[in-house]
């Protein structure tokens, strides 16, 4: 390995070393605060090292990994999301008496998997990255061992994710049979050279099953509500953002290299998947009474929106995909961040009733939650609006009339359940107490003057407050001044086509 190789891989190396360092620290002395601080330092150092890696871009490391502007942009996104999750997890785990330190090793490893995935230029690194990410997430999902749902959620996620990676590998083997290479660039060249697709098309279809599962798009979305509900809130935030975003980055890189002729049949399928995801996600969310499940269904719909821009398969489409993913990261992390800080060690703040009158009890948190929901709904002034605008513009530019109209319809349905939640947060406390006492009349009705029993979590810790503050800033800032980020994205997606 040359020096340039090491420089190009520095974000990966820093995160991998941080995982080892945290592991060693735990074996010497268990200290939650020190572990979290070291993890945070590792992630921030990883972010800093991206600017160092940027001095040698674009650089191909062996045939396995590529460090170009695109990979580095997504690396930064993954690392930033991991920083937020780390800050949120500290206070969340601090309330819980279990062994907490190992969580940070898993967080670092999962982040490392995401980094490998966004830089992959070879099927072996694709699978390697995917498995590092998934195996760490299996454990993170089942981490809260005292929680009744942990083991069940873990095994459900494990079985389905394991099946999807098995399909992915089998698909890879078929594509390899046809093209004789596992490397993206020569593989794509081979695909356009050979007559007829033979085994390559079924191979690609099997791979799409694996990818579709990770992205949780219809018809591979069934695991989403259960895993979102059963996993600890910070882990849910991680699964919703990093795991999906990194996979999408890889999908975009692969399809951008693919010529229009080979991509066509797959794009037709993905078009159907996009529309089905938008409709199913939004419709299923309508009736949901559990916030985590509601956000799960909404995330299915959001991945459908991103796929619409992806279908455009143009440079502008790539920019729209990337911007939308950034917006989705910010809004989703903010929403789950609020859920995380409202949860206490008894249960998670996941029922819609928990949020009744939140504006009068926790005005700042309620405002942030409203911002996140409005951004997810795509209301102007928020970053979600700019993202959705870019997606629609990309779709219209490519004359994808049907997917764009489904997107518009889906957004309209989406407005209903996002705003319903906002209304619940605005409504007065007395109404909630009244319905509660009506629901079970055996209990003594709550005193109108007293604060309700739930949520009890009193104070937002420093780390979580910092993370939520940053997210609030981004939520509004990127909505009002998307220009600078757009410029960065434009230059970073340019190596793709």
């Amino acid at each position: 390995m040359s020096r340039t190789d090491l420089t190009a891989l520095s974000p990966l190396l820093v995160v991998a070393l941080a995982a080892v360092a945290v592991l060693l620290l735990i074996s010497v002395r268990r200290n939650h605060r020190a572990t979290a601080t070291l993890t945070l330092a590792g992630l921030v150092l990883g972010l800093v090292s991206i600017s160092w890696a940027a001095t040698v871009t674009p650089h191909q490391v062996a045939p396995l990994l590529i460090a170009d502007g695109y990979a580095l942009f997504y690396s930064a996104l993954v690392l930033a999301a991991a920083v937020v999750v780390c800050l949120l997890s500290f206070d969340y785990l601090e309330q819980r008496g279990e062994q907490r330190e190992e969580f940070y090793v898993l967080l670092l490893l999962a982040t490392l998997g995401g980094l490998v995935l966004v830089g992959a230029s070879h099927f072996v690194t694709l699978f390697l990255g995917l498995e590092i990410l998934s195996v760490a997430i299996y454990v993170m999902v089942a981490y809260a061992r005292s929680s009744p749902l942990a083991a069940e959620t873990g095994i459900k996620y494990l079985v389905l994710a394991g099946a999807s990676s098995a399909f992915l590998v089998f698909g890879m083997a078929l594509v390899y049979a046809q093209t004789g290479t596992l490397e993206f660039r020569p593989l794509v060249a081979q695909l356009s050279a050979i007559e007829g697709s033979g085994l390559a098309l079924p191979g690609m279809a099997l791979m799409l099953v694996g990818v579709g599962f990770k992205l949780a798009v219809v018809p591979f979305h069934m695991w989403t509500p259960e895993v979102y509900q059963g996993a600890p809130a910070p882990v849910t935030a991680f699964v919703a953002t990093v795991s999906k975003g990194a996979m999408f980055a890889l999908l975009l890189r692969f399809f951008a290299a693919l010529g229009p002729g080979e991509a066509r049949p797959l794009l037709v399928v993905l078009g159907l998947v996009a529309m089905a995801s938008i409709l199913a996600g939004n419709l299923l969310a309508l009736l949901e009474q559990n916030i985590k499940r509601l956000l799960a269904f909404s995330s299915i719909a959001h991945l459908g929106y991103v796929l619409v821009a992806f279908l455009a398969s143009s440079a502008f489409g790539d920019e729209a995909v990337t911007f939308y993913l950034v917006a989705y990261f910010v809004s989703t992390l903010a929403a789950f961040g609020v859920v995380t800080v409202l949860s206490d060690n008894e249960r998670e703040a996941e029922r819609i009733e928990d949020y009744r009158g939140l504006f009068w009890r926790r005005p700042l948190l309620a405002t942030l939650m409203t911002g996140a929901l409005l951004s997810l709904a795509g209301i102007p002034l928020t970053t979600g609006f700019v993202g959705k605008f870019a997606v629609v513009a990309a779709g219209v530019e490519a004359s994808l009339w049907l997917p764009v109209s489904v997107l518009a319809l889906g957004s309209a349905i989406g407005l209903y359940y996002y705003l319903r939640l906002v209304v619940v947060m605005l409504s007065s406390l007395d109404a909630g107490a009244a319905t509660e006492s009506a629901a079970d009349s055996g209990r003594t009705p709550a005193d109108p003057g007293q604060t309700p029993a739930w949520p009890r979590a009193a104070r937002v810790g420093g780390g979580a407050a910092l993370a939520l503050g940053l997210l609030a800033l981004l939520l509004l800032g990127l909505g009002l001044y998307p220009g600078p980020l757009m410029d960065v994205i434009e230059s970073s997606v340019s190596p793709l086509r």
């Binding site: 099927f123 072996v124 699978f127 390697l128 498995e131 998934s134 195996v135 299996y138 454990v139 089942a142 061992r145 009744p148 749902l149 942990a150 083991a151 069940e152 959620t153 873990g154 095994i155 459900k156 494990l158 079985v159 394991g162 099946a163 990676s165 098995a166 399909f167 590998v169 089998f170 890879m172 083997a173 078929l174 390899y176 049979a177 004789g180 290479t181 596992l182 490397e183 259960e226 509900q229 059963g230 559990n290």
Partner: protein, 101 residues
């Protein structure tokens, strides 16, 4: 031996693995089914690399990666299955359903 023979074995393994995972008799069976699918893919990778020498060793090396990662996945999988067993007293997937709905 012909390449076709290897492909046939691999296809049979793939179908068996799918059937085992889909039958949902026990979590251990499901995990074993997944291993079978991965090994079917391995046979394909290795066979293609062997019968088309001009394409290099990508397939062989790829198979080694798959073996390593499958082992990691199985280790974690069994650990979670143990957790499930200590909580539910069973490892039949259909009996493990506490999540709402």
């Amino acid at each position: 031996m012909e390449l076709g023979a290897y492909l046939a074995v691999s296809a049979v393994l793939f179908v068996l693995g799918m059937a085992m995972a889909a039958a949902r008799r026990s979590l251990i069976y499901v995990l074993m089914g997944l291993e079978l699918i991965l090994n079917a893919a391995n046979i394909n990778l290795v066979a293609f690399a062997r019968f088309k020498p001009e394409i290099g060793l990508d397939g062989q090396i790829g198979a080694i990666f798959v073996i390593i990662l499958a082992a990691a996945e199985a280790a974690i999988g069994l650990a979670i299955v143990l957790n499930v067993y200590s909580r539910f007293g069973t490892i039949r997937p259909d009996d493990i359903d506490e999540l709402r709905q």
